[in-house]
Each structure stands twice: as C-alpha cells, then as structure tokens.
C-alpha cells in the first residue's frame, strides 16, 4: 500500500485559522476608524530590493507587450510602491500584503508570509511606536497578558545584556565579547565590518531576552543599519529606525522615512556594490521610487509588522507552521 498522504491537510487548526481572520478584521477596523486608507500594490516588479541580506524570487514574463521576456521580482515588502502612493498624495495608507523572501525558512520564517505595512504622515518613529503598541495591544487583548511597553535604544540593549557600546566598539572588542558570551564564532566573520558581529551578538545573546511579557521597542540603530530610515546628525549619527520584540520574537520594523532621493540612491548603490563583493547579482534599482522621492515624500514614518508571527504569539504557538494553513513544505 502506498503511504497515506496527510500533507494535503492544513497544518494550522481551525481555531487558529478563525483567529487569523478575526485579527485581520480587527486590523481593518482599527485603520478604518483612523481614516487610514487600505491600498494594494503589485507583487511583481521590474525592480527589486538591493539589501544584500534579502533575496527576491525572480520570474520571467513571456508577453504580450513591451515587457516581453523581462525578469520580474516578487516583492519582499510593499514599501517602494507604497512610497510612490505617498508621494502622489495618498495620505496615510496601509496594506496587508503577501511578501516573498527566498532563503528564509525555519520555525519563525516561511518563504512567503503576510506583512501589515502602514505609513503615517507627520509621525516620527516614536509617535509611530505609540500607534504600533496600541494596535498590537488591541490584537492581543484577552489572549496574551502584557505589562507596559518599554523603549530601549540599540545602545542600551547592548550595554544592558553584554556591557558593550555597539556604536563605538571595534571588531576585536565585539569578537572578544562573543567569546566571553560563549558563542561559537561562525567561520568567515569579517575582520573589517562590525555589523555582522553586532547581528551575531543581537540574535544570539540579546533577542531571546527582549519583550519578555511586554512589548519592547528597540530604536536608534547604527547608521550602517539604517536601511530606509533617516539619519539623525548626532555623534555618531543614528538611523531613526525601530524594531518591536515580544517574547524574543521580532515582530515589526519601522522607519522615520528617508525622503532624500540622492541619499537613497547612494544607499542602493552601496548595497549593490556589497552584493557584487559577495558574489551576488546586483538588483535593478527602483527608478520609479527614486523619481517619486525626488518629487517629494511627505514627512512620514512607516512600519512593517509580521502578521503570521503576531498570530503565532496570540495563539500561544511557537512555530509558524501552527498558524499557516499550508506552510512552505505543504504549498
């Protein structure tokens, strides 16, 4: 007898799938009450994110039309077209988007997942953190008890958990810190770039402690990790970016958005150069986004929240398989 196929079944239970639907309805009501407009943007784009740590799925369009034979990329987040809407005068917007990231699979990663992304005009990253806390608290009410939210700078979490200053430490100092923490040092860690060392320490030594019983916002990231956030001219300059953690799970990433087209182009080119240095293919820049920024992005803050992870925490699960109808290996 052939083995019985049970992989056709959903891996999430019905209670969890009903919870997903209920949380989506709550999110839509939350934004409707605040007059934030729901939008939809293309999943397939001619441009792709250049961040060397993000890998876009690519496919080819076979026509008809001028794009015949063109390589198109599935988006890793709807950020670029949403910023084009903002520059075109949309006002505050949100989107519940399915996004795709190649090479990311594990307990807390599925190569496709649902992002809730929203932009608020006139907000800075701190005011947006207030709103994120309000929404997440509402979504978890009655499901996961939360103490008052806390805000810690990137510097504070490193000082608190490891006793080092992430903005001033050298590679040698961070390597010594990793040794003291008993970490196995991955082969091939660079001797000339601090960021992979900060990522190692953050993921192994700090993240598991963040957000225990409360929302923990981490803010003001090293300039090299600013991504699409504004830099605040400080000493050292800091990226006005934040991350939200709950029970050791990274839930959201937000920016006080960079509106400077020239600076954005410079960062994209720098990322593409880093890709090439690592033997990766450079990605086509989103010229539409850069043109929109040149016209003018209204001052705003934006955030992307991993919806599946939120459902995971709300349902008491510890892996994404428990909240997806069909995770990647059953897709």
């Amino acid at each position: 007898m052939p083995p019985v196929d049970t992989a056709w079944r959903p891996s999430a239970c019905w209670d969890t799938l009903r919870l997903r639907a209920a949380l989506l309805a709550t999110i839509r009501a939350f934004f409707a009450a605040r007059a934030v407009l729901e939008v939809e943007t293309p999943l397939l784009s001619a441009a792709a994110i250049s961040d060397p740590h993000l890998h876009s799925f690519a496919t080819v369009y076979h026509g008809p039309g001028p794009r015949h034979g063109q390589t198109l990329y599935l988006h890793t987040s709807p950020e670029f077209p949403m910023k084009r809407l903002l520059a075109a005068g949309s006002g505050c917007i949100y989107q519940i988007a399915r996004v795709f990231r190649d090479g990311e699979a594990g307990r807390r990663h599925n190569p496709e997942f649902t992002l809730l992304e929203w932009y608020r005009l006139g907000f800075d990253h701190h005011r947006l953190m207030d709103e994120v806390a309000e929404l997440v608290t509402l979504l978890l009410a009655g499901r996961l008890p939360l103490a008052a939210a806390e805000r810690l700078s990137y510097r504070e979490i490193f000082q608190r958990h490891l006793g080092v200053d992430p903005h001033r430490s050298t590679v040698a100092e961070l390597a010594a810190c990793a040794e003291r923490a008993g970490l196995s040092i991955p082969p091939g860690m660079p001797g000339d770039a601090v960021d992979p060392w900060l990522d190692l320490l953050l993921t192994h030594c700090i993240e598991p402690h963040l957000g225990q019983g409360r929302l923990t916002f981490v803010y003001d990231y090293p300039a090299a990790q600013a991504a699409l956030a504004r830099l605040r001219p400080d000493d050292p300059p800091l990226g006005e970016r934040f991350e939200l953690y709950l029970h050791g799970v990274e839930l959201a990433n937000g920016f006080h958005e960079l509106g400077d087209a020239a600076e954005q182009r410079r960062r994209f080119m720098q990322e593409n150069a880093a890709r090439q240095a690592q033997g990766q293919v450079p990605m086509p820049l989103d010229e539409h986004l850069l043109a929109a920024l040149a016209v003018g992005l209204p001052a705003c803050a934006g955030v992307a929240l991993g919806f599946d992870r939120l459902v995971m925490l709300a349902s008491g699960a510890t892996a994404l398989d428990a909240v997806l109808a069909f995770p990647f290996d059953r897709a």
Partner: protein, 189 residues
C-alpha cells in the same frame, strides 16, 4: 567530498568540522530584522558522541563528511580488533575498541550490526536491538518466584551482565534489549 550550503542543512546531515565528522541534530535559522542571517546548529560528534552548538553565516558552505551506515556481519575478535564482513561483497573490515564502544559485549558471531563507516572505516558499531544469549552464571534464585520483582545479575556468554528475574537459571537462553541493556524474556530453544 561534496560541500553543503547552510540552505541544505537538516537533521541527520553529516558534515566535517575541525577534522571530525559530525551529524546535524538540530538546525535553527535566525535572522535579525535586517542584516546577517545565521544557522545555529546542534551537532553530534560521531567519534565522541558529544553534542555541541555551532553557528554558521547563512549561505556559507561546509565540507560534507563521507559517513554511511551499512549492515555488516560480525565474524570474530582477534584480541585487539573486531572483524566484520559485508554479506553482499564479502569485503572484510576491522573495528577498533574506540569504534566498538559498549557494543562488543552484545556481539555473538554472525550477528548483523549497523556499522557507521567514515571514509570507509568503521567509526561506530551498533549491535542488533535484540540479542538472544545463554546465561553462563547466575545465583540460583528462589523456586516458584514468578513475580519478576527484584531480580539478580546474570552473566551472559559474551561476558555482558544483565539483571534477570529470580526464576531465571544458569544455562537458560534469554532475549535482551541492547539499547537499554534490559532482560526481555526467556527463549525456548
């Protein structure tokens, strides 16, 4: 030998680290919100059995270990080495005491064993899960005791010692679970 990308990591994969063969026990993908992703793995050293934690940058490659499991027939012990034969090819292989570990005491001639080979040489030997052996020595127990409680040590023909119920006597044949080292039952010849 092949190399494996961290994207191919899964439990059971055999890799080389610091000159020793390891098997991946657990593989966790961790990534900060933005930035470098890592594979955090628990690996078992196939020589020592020790489990340790290691971290790799995601996307990096690791040399594979030429480790395979084969079923071999135990032939004899020459005082220093244990000799096995592949029942298909009749090829003979020898295992040293380190590879035998605790398994030697469960082996009777002709027993089929699961042997892990590293670069073609035995790295570890697992005896059959159940073995049938004759008791060569045990204290005479109380006749009529069938409760099975308590028990007494019994020495088997290979020298292994197991606890048996009091009613089991010298010269009897018993079945033993080698994974736990426990008596299972008497066997009628």
């Amino acid at each position: 030998m092949a190399t494996y990308s961290t994207n191919e990591f899964k439990s059971g994969l055999k890799i080389m680290m610091d000159g020793d063969p390891y098997a991946i026990v657990e593989n966790e993908f961790v990534k900060p919100g933005k930035g470098q992703a890592f594979n955090r793995v628990k690996v078992r050293n196939l020589k020592s059995g020790r489990v340790i934690e290691r971290t790799f940058k995601s996307g990096d490659t690791v040399e594979g270990a030429d480790v395979v499991d084969v079923e071999l027939q135990y032939l004899y012990n020459d005082g220093e080495y244990w000799h096995f034969m592949d029942p298909q090819s009749y090829e003979q292989l020898t295992a040293d005491a380190a590879a035998m570990g605790d398994s030697a005491k469960w082996l009777k001639e002709e027993a089929l064993c699961q042997v892990t080979l590293w670069n073609g040489a035995p790295l570890s030997v697992a005896p059959p899960n159940f073995v049938i052996m004759t008791i060569i020595e045990t204290d005479p127990g109380l006749r009529g005791d069938t409760s099975g409680g308590g028990g007494k040590p019994a020495t088997l023909e290979t020298g292994a010692v197991v606890r048996v119920p009091l009613f089991v006597q010298s010269g009897e044949v018993i079945k033993v679970d080698t994974r736990t080292g426990e008596y299972v039952s008497r066997v009628k010849e």
